[in-house]
Each structure stands twice: as C-alpha cells, then as structure tokens.
Amino acid sequence: MRHTLAVLVENNPGVLARVAGLFSRRGFNIDSLAVGRTESPDVSRMTIVVEGDERVLEQVNKQLHKLVDVIKINDITADEYVDRELVLIKVNADPAQRGEVMQIADVFRARIVDLGRKTVTLECTGNDGKINAFEESLRPYGIKELVRTGKIAMLRGTKYTGLQENGD
C-alpha cells in the first residue's frame, strides 16, 4: 500500500542525503519525495510517498525517527488531506492540433505556459489520479518532455502537522 508521510526536518545541509540514503540502504521504495521550506526558516518539510506493507512502514517510521535531523513524522494516509502535484508536459502539437490539445487542457484545467513552433507546454496541478489521466490524454500526441514535482500534502480542517501540538 502507498503511504503519504509528512516529515519535518531541521533545515541543515545534508538532511536530504540522510533521508534518501536511509531509504536506499534499508531497501524502502520511495514513490516520490518533495521538499521545501516551511513557515519556520529552521524547518523544512518533506512529503514522502512510500510503498510498503505495515511492517515496512513501521520500520520506515522508526528508522526516520533515528535521524537526529528529523523532528516529526506524520503518516497522514488514513486522515483527510489535500494533496497536489504539479506537472509540466511538453507535447507535440503543430498548429492544426493545437485546438485539440487546448480542449484537453480545458477539461483538466491545465494552463498553456509556452508555445513552440511544433510544441505546446502545459502546466497542470491536481492529485495523482488527475495528473495520470492528463498525461494519458496527451500521450497520443507524443510527449516530448515531462516533469512532475512529486506530491505535497496537507491535512484538512483545523488539524495540522506543524511543530506545535494539535489544536483539536
């Protein structure tokens, strides 16, 4: 099963290497990992999507906890959360095909961010399912280049995975 972990880490150099190294040497499978700063300048937040059964997840959790730079781990899989991923896709589209591509973009509420002579570059945000569907719809035109940010996620409502204790 896929799990989504929200991991707060000290904003120290090398922290990404520590986390990535831990996953590779213990044989844990990362689906995606996104990292960036948070509301506090000393703290970064990683959203890690990891594949594994209960036992693997328990080890992922415990081993992550052993890293001195890891402050807090939240497995939010079972909670209500909002998740988003951003994708940039450069797709073949000569002027005759642009209309179709733009229609698809409309359906997915994607935006055109660049136009080339024979290509269109689109930006789309959404959850996993939407991004996958968007990619599939464009595949027949010939995808020249594709880049995904990896998923970021946040709990819904008043709950949060911040440094302070939860309010509710």
Partner: protein, 552 residues
Amino acid sequence: MKKTGAQILVESLLAEGVDTIFGYPGGQALPIYDALYDADIRHILTRHEQGAAHAADGYARASGKPGVCLATSGPGATNLVTGIANAYMDSIPLVAITGQVPTSMLGRDSFQEADITGITLPITKHNYLVKDVNDLAKIVREAFYIATTGRPGPVLIDMPRDVSAGETDYTDPGPVHLPGYDIKKDPDPEQVARAVRAIEEAERPVIYAGGGVINANAHVELLKFAEMLLAPVATTLMGLGGFPGNHPLSVGMLGMHGSKYANYAVSECDLLIGVGVRFDDRVTSKLEAFAPNATVVHIDIDPAEIGKNVGVDIPVVGDVRATLRELAGRLQPRLASRWRDKIQTWKKEYPIEFEENGRIKPQEVIREIYNATGGNARITTEVGQHQMWAAHYYTYTRPRTFISSGGLGTMGFGFPAAIGVQLACPGETVIDIAGDGSIQMNIQELATAVSHKLPVKIAILNNGFLGMVRQWQELFYNRRYSYTELDNPDFVKIAEAYGAVGIRVDKKSEVRPALDEALRVDKPVVLDFQIEREENVLPMVPPGEAINNMLG
C-alpha cells in the same frame, strides 16, 4: 578571550571529561595537533588510523566512557571508516574527529580531500561538517551527547582547517537542545504490565541477553531478574559477561556457535525475553524456526529494533536497566522450576567439549589462559575460530571483560582494542586472543604498545589457516581450501623487532609455562601457539538451519 577552533576543541574535550585520545597527525589536522601539544590530554599515537579507531572503541567498551579518535583529512579519515563501522554495528560510544581541507577548498577534489561526512553517513549515529568556528563548541557537546545517550554509537566531527585555525570568543554552549532527538528511558507502564502477565503465565521462560545489558550497566538487575524467574540466561557474543558465565542459570552463548543447551532452551521455551538484543542472523539462523512456540517480549532502548527482524508480541521500549528494575519490582520470585531442572540435565548431557590428543588444541590454550589468569583478565579477540573458542572456553563473570567485534566481524580489531582496554584499565591483565590471519591486519600497533609501555599480551592460535573460512570450505565446499592457507612470518622475530617479547609454543606441555612467563613480564608479549591445524569450531548450526539442528 579569543581562541582558535583547535583550542576550543581541546577545551570542549576536557569539558566532556576526555583524558585520552587515539590519533595520527597530518596536514589538515596540524592546528589541532598544535593545540594538543601542551594540552592536558593524553594522546596515544597509533601506527595506523584504523588502530586509533579500534583502540578508542576498546577504551570505550572497557571503561563505559566515550572513546575519542582523531585523524587527518582524506586517507586519514577513510582509514577510520572500518573502526567507525565496527563501533556502529556494536553500538559503542565513539567520537571521531577528522581534519578537513579548508572550507574554500571543499568540493574541488583538493589534495587529501575526502567527503568523510558523506562516506560515514550510513555508519554513524550522526555526523557534522563544521563550517563555522562559532558552531564548534555546540557541535562537540552535541556529538558527545548523541554518542553516549540512548542507544550509543559513533559520531563524527569533520573540521576544515580554517575552522580549526579560525578564532572566536569561546563561550560555553550550555545544555543540548535537539528537537529531533528524544530518548524514552522509562518503559510504558501498559507494556510493562503486559510483560509481567506473560512472565507470570510462562512455564518455560528463557532470557536472551545482549550487548544492551552491558551498555546500560544492567548486569546487576539482570542477575536479580533471572534469579526471580529461575529462567536460564542465554547471551549473545556481545552479551558475554553481562551475566556471570559460572552461574547455574547461565546457558552460555546461543546461536550459530552457541551451546546446544542454549539453543535447545530457546527452541523449547514458551516465553522468550530479549533484553538489549537485535535478533541478529548469527543468533536466529532460520527465522521461522527461532523460538517457534514462544511469546516474545523484547526490551530495548531503540524502538527501531522492535519488530525489525522478528515479530514481537510484547515490545517494551526503554532503558534496559530501568525496565528490568520495574519488572522485578512487580514479580513474585519463583521457588521451583521443572524447566530449570530440565536445562540442568541438558547441560550435563550436551557439554561443550573437545577431544584432546598429543598436539596443542586451541580450546586447551583458552582454558589454560583462563586458569593462568584466574578468570580475571580482560580478553579481546579478533574475528574467526579463535574468537568462538574464546567465547566457549573462557568463563566471563563480569561485564566489559570480553571485548570483541560482534556485528561487523572485523579482523584486526582485537589488538588495537586491547591497547585501548589496557589504557582504560591500567594494572589489569589484558590479553588479545588472535588468529594468525587477523593479527597481521593490525600488527603494526606493536610499536604503539611498546612505545607507551603497555604490557598487552597477544595469544596467537596459529594454525596456518584463515581457520573459520577453511572450516566452511571443509564442511560446505568439499575441502577446496581456496586461498585460506597462510605462509606466516616468524612472529617471535616480529615481536622482538618491535621491542616486545616473543614466545613460540610447539608442545602441549609448554602451554602453561609460556603463559605464566608472559604474565610475569611487564611488557607486550606475543605468544605463538602452534595449534592443531584443522580443528573445527563446534557445535555449529549449518547456514539456513534451525538453531536446534546442530553439527558436533
């Protein structure tokens, strides 16, 4: 007052109570060595950085205090790697300090540059690259705190030369504040209650005790706990000495080269209480068949060890000492146990024994070392057959008296470790039990022992083979002794060349007199015992088998 980074390092070491460090100088460590020149710290100059790391490790194991080693950048730092990995696998508190090229030169493949924080990422509990001299005092304090608390382990501090030479105002960094580092010392009362119920219900409990007992200084509590339960105590290699080996409840070591009665006890128990252990594959062998009928209680300070290798019914996360105390406080002592009686009969039925003949048997040498020292020596070992014989035929009754490379299995550990042990325990007898293969991996440290006047004894069980590998080749590879036979140098001459004493022992009758002579001399002594060449370590669990299915 302005101080250099190197001076701050020295002050910080003194503030942590460090009195001895093991090291080897070099270019990028020059400022540090300059500060050490007139510091109130004893520096032991080894002849190889690996020796420094192992000596610091041995010092830590014998004293219970953190060991400190120091090396220069590049090759100096990479030479520490095996020693750091060794300390990591056995959870030994070690602080390794390395010189590094100046920060402006980092990442440019400068002369003697190696990314040692990158290299040691998977083998340290934590590590630091100091980029600002103002952070140094805080980092050193954190390093010692992390190395010695919770589950101990090595921490590395990499110090670029401009940091050690740079100046700043030194102020005490105050208490450690690490938001991501918390240790749960006291066990959860609910888990303790569950463990108590399981213990009360058990008819055939076995205690499986490891290095965590020694790390937690919990040997007294373990003894009391075992006596209340009348439960046999099997120890891992790392746990030897954590429970008195001469106690009626001791069943010695378990696992691949455990005693038959220890392995039988584990296989038939209905409750297995793991205390400061990690269910290592050399203990469990075939996992599905390990303690198949038992409820498993696992006590450990590291939550990540719970459920890592085997499913655990009752996890108790906490300091081993505090937990055993808590448990003992809630239990009624047992007055009789048929289970204990059954184990006593197994002990009589399946003793660990060997056949004597006219030649020198390695087991006999170990037994004579035990007799000659009255069991009061500190024993270190290298890795291989001699290590297992040292585990079987010498009885360890006190913690920190058997010092051996368990997890990593590092040949070349024992002798430098013995140097560290001797420094931690002046006046005590320290003996490295070695093989003719492993002693050659760090034999250069004879110079260290001689120049620091450390009367460490080395007992080489010399069979002219890499014995353990040969044993496997004999048993599982049709006696094809592929590159395991050794042409050895004259160890007596080597000892003498270094200024130590060398004694060669060819006859059975010379074993004890040679040992007595070695113990009488107040100098390093190398004893070269010419033993039976193809003796095997038995009993033995063949790889992949259940632990009650033993050869020999």
